[in-house]
């Protein structure tokens, strides 16, 4: 082979590598980063209710029942995609749905909920974002499944979809319920 084909051959190698890169990055969703919290107790917290800041709810009050903690904010666009799903399918989950309002002005958050509806059994506000740091929240929306003993069992980053509810959340929730019942 003549030397003048060498650049072409070199490029073919680079191309193959880049093609592999695309294939690989699609197979390995960066969202699948496992949370170090999974299998460990959820961080201790006690946060004011969004509707009534004088009352606080936290790990102690939530213990004894499995619950789903959904991180959201009025400034978060993806949350707008997720919200209708929670509105329509939230009751199907059969466990407590805790809204975790993340770094949000309370007035904005209330207006947002008034506009789009309230799927949450209870909504707590983390204005400073300290508790979110303990949970390792990288952005909104994020969702944590916590069991009756307060152990984080599952974490999902990005908006929940009906498929996620069907394939990821409901099977895990039914296990949690069996554990709680048994």
């Amino acid at each position: 082979m003549s030397a003048r084909y060498l650049p072409l051959a070199g490029f073919a190698l680079v191309l193959a590598l880049l093609g592999f890169g695309i294939y690989w990055s699609q197979k390995h969703d960066p969202r699948e980063v496992p949370s170090p919290l999974i299998g460990k107790p959820a961080p201790q917290f006690s946060l004011p209710l969004l509707d009534d800041p004088s009352r606080k709810i936290g790990t102690a009050e939530l213990a004894g029942q499995p619950y789903l903690l959904n991180v959201f904010a009025s400034w978060c666009f993806a949350c707008r995609d997720e919200h209708p799903i929670l509105m329509s399918d939230g009751t199907r989950l059969g466990i407590k749905l805790v809204g975790f309002n993340y770094k949000d002005e309370p007035a904005d958050a209330k207006r947002w909920i008034a506009q789009f509806g309230d799927p949450y059994d209870v909504t707590i506000a983390d204005y400073a974002g300290d508790v979110a740091i303990d949970f390792g929240v990288t952005g909104a929306p994020e969702t944590f499944l916590v069991d009756a003993k307060g152990i984080v069992r599952y974490k999902y980053i990005s908006p929940i979809t009906p498929e996620v509810i069907a394939t990821e959340l409901l099977p895990r929730i039914s296990i949690l319920k069996k554990e709680a019942g048994g």
Binding site: P7, L18, I22, S25, F77, R80, Y102, A140
Partner: protein, 661 residues
Amino acid sequence: MIPELGQLALILALLLAAAQCILPLIGAQRGNRALIAVARPAVAGQAVFVALAFAILTYAFVTQDFSVKYVALNSNHLLPWYYRFSAVWGAHEGSLLLWVLILNVWTVAVAAFSHRLPDDFIARVLAVLGFISFGFLLFTVLTSNPFERALPMPFDGNDLNPVLQDPGLIMHPPMLYMGYVGFSVAFSFALAALIGGELDVRWVRWARPWTNIAWAFLTLGIALGSWWAYYELGWGGWWFWDPVENASFMPWLIGTALIHSQAVTEKRGSFRAWTLLLAIFAFSLSLLGTFLVRSGVLTSVHSFASDPTRGLFILGFLTLVIGGSLAIFAARAPKVSGGEPFAAASRETLLLINNLLFAGAAAMVLTATLYPLLGEALNLGRISIGPPYYGLRFVMFMAPVVLLMPFGPFLRWRSGDWRAALRSLMPALIGAVALAIVAAVIARIVADGLPFKAIVGAAASIWVGLGIGLYALSRLRTAPPGRRYTPEMLGMILAHFGVAIFVAGVLIVEATNIEKDIKLAPNETVEIGGLAFRFDGVKSAAGPNFKADQGTLTVLKGDAVVATLNPQKRQYSRGTQVQTESAIDPGLFRDIYVALGEPIGTDGAWAVRIYVKPFVRWIWLGALFMMLGGFVAAADRRFRALPAAKRETERALMTPARAQV
């Protein structure tokens, strides 16, 4: 309604790009004047519609039309007006549009200033540029439409990434793209020459100023990016060998080689195939850089937008453009040969070495950037390559460059004399060695000894700087007045002088900078590098769209206040991340750099980063000189016109030859 007009403008530009690519190419192959004549109007039309689309997107940002998804995602009502302009290129869709706009600026310039070139040649050049534009416009329209609506219309926008809310970042992307995209001109010239088979040297002479200008812009863009990373990321570093930085640096390295090889080809006729190949490589690496940044294949602190499906499109486009041009090169390159012979001791030899070293360095950076990917492909597990890997290898390539650089101007073309060159350079050599010895001795007596690296840096800087100074002096003595410094030569002198400044900056700051991370309580004072830093506590501050914790540090030398610095930790109103704003007391010979870490405990103590960085500004000062050199050299009138008489003879000679065929 107006955003839809923008989308329509993009689609019309896409169609005109297709016309600009196909028709002139057919015209040039068949000798059809009418089809060739389509090229320039198509260029103008496409540019108008792209500019219109860009203006409409800018208008949407300025008037805060949050019904446009891209606007809503990248700005909000608190964003100051000047950032609304730069927010246009703050994320993927808009930066792509900027890319296309700049390509159109270059294309219009080529179309406007090329009337002296043969029509069929310039038709092919514009066709190649049209093809590139077509690809990018198609990509924009199909996968990254900036005019997509957000329904229902959000009440307020998200925000521009706080990292980008900075003056340095307003200009960084446009300058970088001017460079990246500017290499498309040399690329399209090379391809037009290959397609048309007219491989005489005229195209090189004509391409040279364009390459120089693109290179100068790229130099400025990289320098701005580096300066921004220095003060904005809060780590005090100026280069991280991050994949995105590498993406801009590889075309720069190849571009540097190209500038030098074009000079040889234009003046001596040698290295023709090599110059063609470098022109293809320089632009290919620009495209590859765009791919790496946009596809999400390599993760990096800089990739603000990445999406694998877009990656597939760019990969296909890369295959067509790079694969296609290399295939054309492989088919046609054998016809490109000739040039005058040269001896081992000649300027040609030195420039060949320069080319090999720069190309080698670019290949090293490319393989290292792709190495983690290779690791995954061959199942070697996660591989990460850090700055030490690059640093060592890069120095191995660049040390000979610095060593040989002063010889270049002193060696003649074709056949030079090493000894005579060395004799001319003796003062620089003596100066460099003497400085090294004196510095080492003084440092030994005064302090614990100056680091080896700093001495090497200063000596190398003197060697290059004095070397080029001696050349300037010899021109002053020997050349006739008026012809002493042509712009081309002056540009070379400035750029090489810039290298001297840059080398001093890099090595001295690497060797002697002081970095301290310490906990400071209010009113506590710490002594660093002969300066006293008093921490006056942290207070709240506010800007137009952020709240901040602002620290105050008073820097004292004895009893005199050197500087009062106010580093901040900013919380943007809509952002989720805290942004560190370092505070710098700049100086030609040293920067004092402080940044706030985290609060510690409850008594008002904070973790504070304090850096003293001698000569750090020389890094960017050197880059500015290099940039200036690029612009000055491009201004040489010699590139712009062939003497009219000579052209006549060439034509006369060419016609019968063609008639015989």
